[in-house]
């Protein structure tokens, strides 16, 4: 699904706390930029360092976008760093919950990531 528009990711903050501000659709056609930014951020992550994905500017989300966030959370957790979401629009929360991605409903299986990414 192409929701129109382009995705932009702006990286802010320090090495200890990095903020990725996402603007535009977070869908199958537009996740490349965020994935790249997350890969770069995960390279430097480790104990005591956190990364925050700010979703205030996100205009659409699909399964691919939700999977990408889960994947990033798992990657950061495996490296001892933390990844969290902030400024989730209400519609985003509704969409993720409806897709089964919400604290207490999505199942991570045996590879638990620590604190749930979808906890609001």
């Amino acid at each position: 699904m192409d929701s129109g528009g382009e995705m932009a990711v702006q990286v802010e903050g320090t090495n200890e706390r990095r903020v990725l501000r996402v603007a535009g659709p977070l869908d199958i056609a537009h996740t490349a930029a965020l994935r790249q930014a997350l890969v770069e951020a995960s390279d430097g992550c480790g104990a005591g360092r956190s990364t925050v994905v700010d979703l205030a500017g996100v205009t659409a989300v699909d399964l691919c976008g939700l999977q990408l966030l889960c994947s990033a959370h798992r990657t950061f957790a495996a490296r001892g760093g933390g990844l969290s979401l902030q400024c989730r629009p209400a519609w985003f929360c509704q969409a993720s919950t409806a897709a089964g991605f919400a604290a207490g409903t999505q199942t991570c299986g045996p590879r638990l990531c620590g604190d749930c990414l979808w906890r609001e």
Partner: protein, 697 residues
């Protein structure tokens, strides 16, 4: 399917359509409001689901496509545009049209429905339903859901092929369709999602377990997955009642015992939460209704019976008063108290907030202003004010006419408004408030106001007034209530034919209501409707003249007094002095041609009318009376001065006076007002000080 079920669905769907309209109009101004989108979706979902259950298959099929569109708005963030709102409003109208005819007779409407849906599709950024892969045929828009079934819960496991996204299928839309069938709890399994280094955005790593409680049966659930079944593992199993009733902690016990794999634990817990919610908790209101839907005819019948009871109670009270038996008197008083409580309760059952009626006019204003190229905002207040349902039903047409007039004649074009220093957007305010036994409905607009000169000129042309007539502002405004009266030189699709204000007046007359107009040229017009709270039972003052009994509505009575005749003046005076004010009066004996000699000391009932205070002379005042209004037969339909009749405790009939019309007719016929000037010089009739109305029947 019984007629009762069908009628219930029609009523509920009508209410949902009204709610849908309000939500859409609000959504037009707040397109990003997720809560509004949710309300629209839920309304469509319920209309569709219930429609299928009650045999309205055409509605279910049509609404399915709309629901899918708004599901995408809700779930996938598709933008709400004015075009989409407009198309959905048109679709809402089409559903209403489908609702009016039996499902088997909706064929002629199919073509129109197709056009409406095409408009919705064009207004929606993507097709209204997910496209099947490889150009396969699209599924039928609505699953064939037939028959009322008890709610059943199903455990659904959906594990799509990893390449399913490449086929254009969006698994989240399928979940949305499932949600459209009932209550859905869903859990995503994300354990297959790799870390970022192995992440491929075009692969589906997720699979789902869901619990769906629905009345539609298993086949419609399978239909959701019709085009993906070959690319997915799918299992649908009914959760038996025995499982549903298992203790809530079963999941936890299984975990402790290691009887289930860890990745099933969350799903088991989800399932238990879902079923627990159905048994008690959050979903309880759907199963145990807090309100009952009762056919209006049953309420009407109840009020009729209570009316009869009030009449018999009056008879009992009358008997007890003269019987001199303390036991009978005690029982009568108790009966009277209970009857009064029952009367109030039964009348309260028919009271409805007027706000729902107000909401209907938002659409009217939106569409009219768009047609006329104007910008108009409708605001309301006092929507919680309650009125008898029969009054509300009769109020709709007058309000439609008044609002159409306000938009068409009142509010100016945006450019003209700006040139006059007004905001381009015109304002119409609709308000309701209580005033004693009446409700005041005000329709005000900040438009051009009424042109008194134009009204007067038009009235002269039509011979409605004499050239030398000195008319007050109210009298001039009252001219626009004449049939066929219009100052418009052109006839638009909206108004200008002179049809409408007389309809307003006629409807108000039927309700025993009245209308007043105030206007400031260039600034505003305010039309105030004064409507009785109820048309069924009123508090009245029972009076007697020449052995005949009449009821004067207590809401009009300001007091009563004795009339002291001056020697030789009997029957000739027309004015009396009440607290220094000259009040015209008539004798009911004379008005209704009742022969015989009046008593030496008569009583005057002083009533408030739009033209000021007016007196009605009677032989005696009997007291207050709970008056059950009975319509007069066809023979009496042309008698304006009597608004109905009531049956008294002794079985006799008393006429209910329409004091406003009676006073107006008396003034018109005898020229009381003109006489006032000359009579003032010779002095009015003598009256004793006014006293309060007696409270014994």
């Amino acid at each position: 399917m019984t007629d009762g079920h069908v009628e219930t669905y029609r009523q509920e769907a009508g209410e949902l359509l009204a709610e849908l309209e309000v939500s859409l109009l609000e959504l037009e101004t707040r397109p990003d409001d997720g809560e509004l989108v949710g309300r629209v979706f839920r309304a469509l979902h319920t209309i569709k689901g219930s429609g299928a259950m009650f045999g309205f298959d055409a509605i279910a099929a049509f609404t399915h496509e709309l629901e899918t569109v708004f599901d995408r708005v809700r779930e996938a963030g598709v933008a709400v545009t004015p075009a989409l709102v407009g198309a959905t409003l048109a679709a809402r109208d089409h559903i209403q049209a489908l609702l009016r005819v039996p499902d088997s007779e909706t064929g002629p409407l199919a073509a129109q429905g197709g056009l409406v849906l095409e408009r919705v599709r064009q207004a929606s950024p993507q097709p209204a339903h997910p496209q099947p892969p490889d150009g396969a045929m699209a599924p039928d828009p609505a699953p064939p859901e037939t028959g009322i079934q008890d709610p059943c819960s199903y455990r659904i496991h959906f594990d799509p092929s990893p390449d399913i996204l490449l086929t254009g299928t969006n698994p989240l839309l399928l979940l949305g369709e499932l949600r459209g069938l009932g209550d859905l709890s869903v859990a995503a399994h994300v354990d297959r999602i790799p870390d970022l280094s192995g992440f491929d955005p075009e692969r589906c790593y997720t699979y789902w377990d869901a619990v769906l409680t629905t009345r539609v049966g298993e086949n419609p659930i399978r239909d959701v997955f019709l085009f993906v079944e070959e690319r997915a593992e799918l299992s649908i199993a009914r959760i038996e009642d025995a499982e549903r009733s298992e203790p809530l902690r079963l999941g936890e016990l299984l975990v402790q015992a290691g009887a289930v794999p860890p990745d099933r634990v969350e799903v088991a817990m989800l399932e238990q939460k879902h079923l627990a919610g159905l048994r008690g908790g959050a979903r309880a209101p759907e199963l145990v209704a807090a309100t009952l839907r009762v056919p209006a005819a049953k309420l009407d019948s109840l009020v009729d019976v209570v009316g009869e009871l009030v009449t018999v109670q009056a008879r009992l009270s009358s008997y007890a008063l003269g019987a001199g038996d303390p036991e009978i008197a005690f029982i009568s008083e108790e009966m009277e108290r209970l009857t009064e409580l029952l009367r109030e309760s039964s009348m309260g059952l028919r009271m409805m907030p007027v706000g729902e009626t107000f909401n209907r006019f938002r659409r009217l204003v939106r569409d009219l202003s768009a047609d006329l190229g104007k910008q108009v905002e409708l605001t309301t207040s006092g929507g919680e004010t309650e009125l008898d349902k029969t009054v509300i039903e009769q109020l709709t047409d007058p309000l439609v006419h008044l609002i159409r007039n306000a938009v068409d004649h009142g509010i100016e074009m945006p450019a003209r408004r700006e040139a006059m220093g007004k905001p381009a957007v015109g304002s119409i305010h609709l308000s309701a408030s209580h005033a004693g036994a009446f409700v005041l409905i005000r329709i005000s607009d900040d438009g051009a106001g009424l042109n008194q000169e134009a009204i007067r000129s038009r009235a002269l042309e039509r011979g409605l007034v004499r050239p030398d007539a000195a008319l007050t502002e109210q009298q001039i405004y009252a001219l626009i209530l004449q049939p066929g009266f219009s100052t418009c030189s052109t006839v638009s699709a909206v108004s200008g034919r002179g049809v409408g204000m007389d309809v307003v007046q006629r409807n108000l007359d039927a309700m025993r209501g009245s209308l007043s107009i105030a206007s400031t040229p260039g600034r505003e017009t305010v039309v105030t409707l004064k409507i009785p709270l109820t048309l069924a039972i009123i508090d009245g003052l029972l009076v007697e003249a020449g052995g005949r009994r009449f009821v004067v509505p207590l809401s009009h009575v300001s007091g009563c007094m004795e009339l002291l005749r001056r020697n030789g003046d009997a029957g000739r005076e027309t004015l009396l002095s009440v607290r220094g004010e000259l009040v015209p009066y008539i004798r009911l004996r004379e008005r209704f041609g009742i022969s015989g000699q009046p008593p030496p000391i008569e009583q005057v009932i002083v009533a408030e009318t739009p033209g000021g205070q007016f007196g009605f002379v009677v032989d005696r005042v009997i007291g207050d009376h709970h008056t059950v209004i009975k319509k007069l037969g066809r023979l009496f339909r042309d008698i304006d001065e009597v608004s109905g009749a009531t049956i008294l405790g002794d079985g006799t009939v008393a006429l209910i006076l329409d004091v406003e019309r009676l006073a107006a007719a008396a003034i018109r016929e005898s020229g009381c007002r003109q006489a006032a000037r000359s009579a003032a010089e010779s002095g009015p009739a003598c009256a004793a000080p006014m006293r309060r109305v007696p409270r014994t029947a």
